[in-house]
Amino acid sequence: MKRITELWFLSFAICSVLLCGTIGCGIFGKGKLESGGAYTGNVTNAPAPELYAIDATFSLVHSALTGVFDYERNNRQALWVISPNIKKALDRIRVEASAAKLQFAKARTAYKSNPTPANLSAVNTALAKLQRAQAAALVVIPLKGH
């Protein structure tokens, strides 16, 4: 059972990293934004493909992090018996991820109202922190918190 859980989390981690990396490729390579949508100028002045790629990546990263945190919280007693380091490691990531999410929210708000390269860089910096937290979170359970 533990082996299945480890394999599932490793598969989940690999899929998440690959998908987050390809979202941007899909947008800039082939995908087109239908006019009339939220990213085509009606809601925000920010450049559409950039903001869409940022939001799509953030949404996936946030879902992946929430999935790991939910899984640990819902199975805390069992995972604590396997290794207390799992919760301790995820608690450290929770703190980092929450701080990065707040930084992202502030930077995204600034970028939407004033889409300058500096503000875009700030959003991407915060997003990179969240992606690092996601990558770290996804391997905590397979590695038993080590």
Binding site: S11, K30, L33, G37, S59, F69, R73, L102, A105, R108
Partner: protein, 77 residues
């Protein structure tokens, strides 16, 4: 090359389909993959949904709200 990418993405979708507890995540991924790689067009509806979701998360974060599972809670006894 595009066929390789599509085949690769199908494999990823297959992995996601067998993963339990991530139905919402997998549904989002499948929708985006369908939008970007099959139709080549991200619909206005999909854009609106994504914008609303990220706006909601950011607004809650800026208001100091956090999901329970993101909070650090006491260790089990």
């Amino acid at each position: 090359m595009p066929l390789t990418i599509i085949a690769w993405m199908n494999a990823v979708q297959g992995l996601l389909l067998i993963a339990p507890n991530v139905e919402k995540f997998a549904t989002q991924v499948r929708q985006w993959i369908a939008d970007m790689f099959a139709a080549g067009l991200i619909t206005a509806e999909t854009q609106d949904i994504l914008m609303a979701r990220v706006d909601e998360i950011c607004a809650a974060t800026l208001a100091g709200q956090e999901l329970d599972s993101w909070k650090v809670e006491p260790d089990p006894v």
